[in-house]
Amino acid sequence: MQKKKIGIPYALYFYEYYPLWKEFLTRLGAEVILSQPTNKKILDLGIRSALSEVCLPVKIFYGHVLSLSEQVDYILIPRMVCIERGAFFCPKMIGLPDMVRSSLQNLPTQLTPIIDVRQSYGTWKNSLMEVGKLITDNSSEISRAFSDSWKIFQQNYLANILEPNLLFKSSIQNNIPKKPRKDIEIPVNIAVLGHNYLTNDSYVNMDLINKLKKMNVNVLTPEIVHPAIIKKQLKKLYKPIFWSLSRKVVGAAFYYFEKKVDGIIHLTSFECGEDSMVGELIHHQSQKYPDVSYTEFVFDEHSGEAGINTRIEAFLDMIRRKKRYEIGLTPSW
């Protein structure tokens, strides 16, 4: 029998959950096809097929779905509702399968398992089992595939997390050369925050992280912060946040503020509802830490690379010139 081809759009929540699905489906003998990393063609496809009011990440998701449509038998579009008590995914992710269905025609069969851990049908296990049944009838095999892939997924997730003192390149504060010949020699820690479908999509964020690294920046992200630290940081809020994905961003932001990194860059999508609120929380917090430079980069389909480059340069200049002042390298004019 020919292997069933299941397409996974490389966008939105799959930045988090692709490894789980890939492991699970492959173990069951399906062929998993991940769409290409976002590129101009995918972006254009998405922009053309979505309403202009829709946020950029969803438009990109559309593009990925379309780019897969001719290569696969099924497309996986889970309905992500709730993965922990007291928090949801954003309305657009909850409605995503319906939005895709309404806007795009001639798609392969869509698999839309629902993840809502408050309901018995929506637990990770039951939801994945439901999809597994399409591939094989052997339910004990499905069950085993689930527990194995779940274990691997958890292990890999924890493997990314760094010990708090490893997060920052050691003794960075005392590491500044007495007379740096060039600004680039002044080491800096910068946290790049945002949903991982934005921070990890180097096409959309104009390769921001690599640009920073090339400019000799130690880049920190939310993924490397331990969930327990994030949970603790979130206690600072007057009211708990009820969006799972944003919890991580805010918790990490508060942590990095507390650790006095040199700078924090918050990447947001224009028209993202969560970001509009979360941005305000982080901005509010930033005022308590005047030593930490903070900026927000807003992305949409019209963002130009020149503008982003200018912002990155200016942000680093700001931090490094400040440091030079501190070590007494003031300009002579």
């Binding site: 010949r181 200049d317 700001m318």
Partner: protein, 324 residues
């Protein structure tokens, strides 16, 4: 005379400034870019040459800034290529080391820079649209058939102002047409436009920023006294427009070049004022190596490629490396 050259290439204007060793402005040139930055840089340099006939000029440092800074840097042989935020901040700091806020409004972008104790601590640029920029006013001025230079005077004459709604140019325009039909005076509409622009600027670019005096207002739009007045009204502080408000970016670039040459002394990479006679060509092509289809730009002197940039992967990049 030993001098430092600053070049600021923006979408709307190309500015050049020549500073002497004591930071005095020897020459300043303000030109419309008109989509031809290379031609304008050449033209600017020949104006500088002409203005200083009979004086032997030695350019010992060159800095470029603005959205065309990489192009200008590659073409002129710059010693430092800096973003326009740092350049504007440096120029303002030189004039007044206590400056706390800079409003910079140019043709297609606008910025706010917040400073403390002589260093930049926060900044923002307009995102998404041109609502708080000079092109907004340019567009409305041509629509009303009033030269942009006179816009400010019209606004100052108005007794009242009309509220013009509209985040973007297009919507503001339809609201303006509506207000015209309702019979409001031209002055009042222009005053309303100035206020709308300042409101858009403060609500978008200036949102959440701690605006404290002294406040500098620079960039091409600072010529507009109507905008200055609206800023004064909205912020409640005096607005200082520096003498060389139009070329502050270029002054900053020249100062940055000086700083660079003092800290890392070396021979300037400047190609010399003779470059006005050289034949520069730029061309671009779309790379089809991957689905990104980057637009690669290259610049040639007398047929020889001296720099190439614009690709995301770095396959084509050559010569001038500012930020890739």
């Amino acid at each position: 005379m030993k001098t430092f050259l600053g070049i600021d290439v923006g979408a709307v204007s190309t500015d050049l400034v020549l500073l002497d060793e004591y930071n005095n402005v020897v020459s300043d040139v303000y030109l419309r870019t008109q989509g031809q930055p290379i031609k304008m840089i050449k033209k600017g340099l020949s104006i500088i040459k002409e203005e200083n006939q009979g004086i032997s000029l030695e350019v010992i440092g060159v800095g470029t800034t603005g959205s065309g800074r990489v192009l200008a840097g590659a073409m002129a042989g710059a010693d430092v290529v800096k973003n326009e935020i740092t350049a504007h901040a440096v120029a303002a700091l030189y004039i007044n080391p206590d400056v706390r806020t800079i409003f910079e409004i140019g043709g297609q972008d606008s910025k706010i820079i917040i400073l403390q104790n002589g260093v930049v601590v926060d900044f923002a640029m307009n995102t998404i649209c041109a609502a708080g920029t000079g092109s907004f006013l340019d567009h409305q001025a041509s629509r009303l058939g009033i030269p942009i230079e006179e816009f400010g005077d019209y606004a100052l004459r108005a007794q009242n102002s009309v509220r013009i709604a509209g985040r973007c140019t297009v919507f503001a325009e339809s609201d303006m047409v509506h207000k015209q039909q309702m019979g409001y005076k031209e002055e009042e509409i222009i005053a309303g436009l100035c206020e709308a622009m300042v409101r858009n600027y403060l609500n978008n670019v200036g949102k959440g920023k701690k605006i404290a005096p002294p406040i500098f207002f620079q960039g091409g739009v600072a010529a507009n006294s109507g905008i200055k007045k609206s800023f004064q009204k909205e912020t409640g502080h005096e607005i200082i427009v520096p003498e060389y408000y139009r070329v502050m970016g270029a002054i900053g670039a020249a100062l940055l070049a000086k700083e660079e040459m003092e800290q890392n002394p070396r021979q300037s990479a400047f190609y010399g004022l003779e470059l006005v006679d050289k034949d520069y060509q730029t061309s671009g092509f779309e790379c089809d190596g991957c689905p990104n289809h980057c637009e690669v730009i290259e610049i040639k002197v007398d047929g020889e490629i001296i720099a190439r940039w614009g690709d995301r992967c770095g396959k084509w990049s050559l010569g001038y490396q500012a930020i890739r």
